[in-house]
Homo-oligomer: 157 residues x 2
């Protein structure tokens, strides 16, 4: 998994606190990270339709839909793609006892076990939304962190 996932998720949580579009530079400043690096993650989110950038003086990034309709899985797949981590290279079709291709139309038992685990991973990530993350961040801190983030963004706008 790429390091971009952590940045992209933190950016999405921050965007839930913003009253107006947030320039990429502001997100980079807030996270103290290279704007070029963050731009890559924001572009991935944009390609996946999770954020969009508005142009002009007050331009910047916004979530395209309510944060309770953006799952953690949406963000992870935007950054890292939707392909399972396990790749079957059809080992069973090799060697002296190779299975003939016509017997290999369905994945092998081993691949199925690996894909089932991947499904469980995705289901877990699908069950959590960015809105919930924002609420949990607040709950964890025992203070209105998201409010503080929102105020900081407002003041720097």
């Amino acid at each position: 998994m790429s390091g971009g996932v952590e940045w992209a998720l933190h950016c999405c949580v921050v965007l839930t606190a913003a009253a107006r579009p947030v320039p990429a530079l502001r997100l980079a400043e807030l996270h103290d990270v290279s704007p070029t690096y963050l731009a890559k993650q924001l572009q991935a989110l944009s390609r996946a339709g999770i954020v969009r950038s508005t142009q002009g003086q007050a331009g910047g990034y916004v979530l395209t839909r309510p944060a309770d309709q953006v799952s953690v899985l949406d963000v992870v797949e935007a950054v890292d793609g939707a392909r399972p981590a396990f790749v079957c290279t059809e080992i069973r079709q090799r060697g002296p006892l190779a299975s003939p291709p016509e017997k290999c139309t369905a994945p092998c038992a081993i691949a199925r076990a690996m894909y089932a685990a991947d499904d469980a991973w995705r289901a877990s990530l699908r069950a959590v939304t960015v809105a919930e993350l924002a609420r949990t961040v607040n709950g964890d801190s025992g203070a209105d962190v998201m409010g503080t983030v929102g105020a900081w963004l407002q003041q720097r706008a």
Copy 2:
């Protein structure tokens, strides 16, 4: 995830069919793969205590315990390690609104969501044993594939 996982799982399933230790060279021949590459996976399995190699004329690899006590997770962790794919770099401790370290003793909400998915992935892999894989391979084929593998190993011993 490394490609070694597929090889290691196939090797473990094959070992369930063997009546005696199987030389690494024989496993490589059966899978038509470089012995050097396969040796790396077998060493990982050996370090994790899943297989051991016996020395001597009839030496080779055996499972160290019954295949219904070897989970797919055991094999995956032997090859790829037990560390979650998601790595939290403590982004929350950066920038102008950084959380102070003393407030960061527990993982952040985002990291927790990622770790929960990792747990679900591991639970899924833990629920399947190498013995079940071998039975499913047989069931899938509609023939006694594992018996054929066993006979081939016997004949080449």
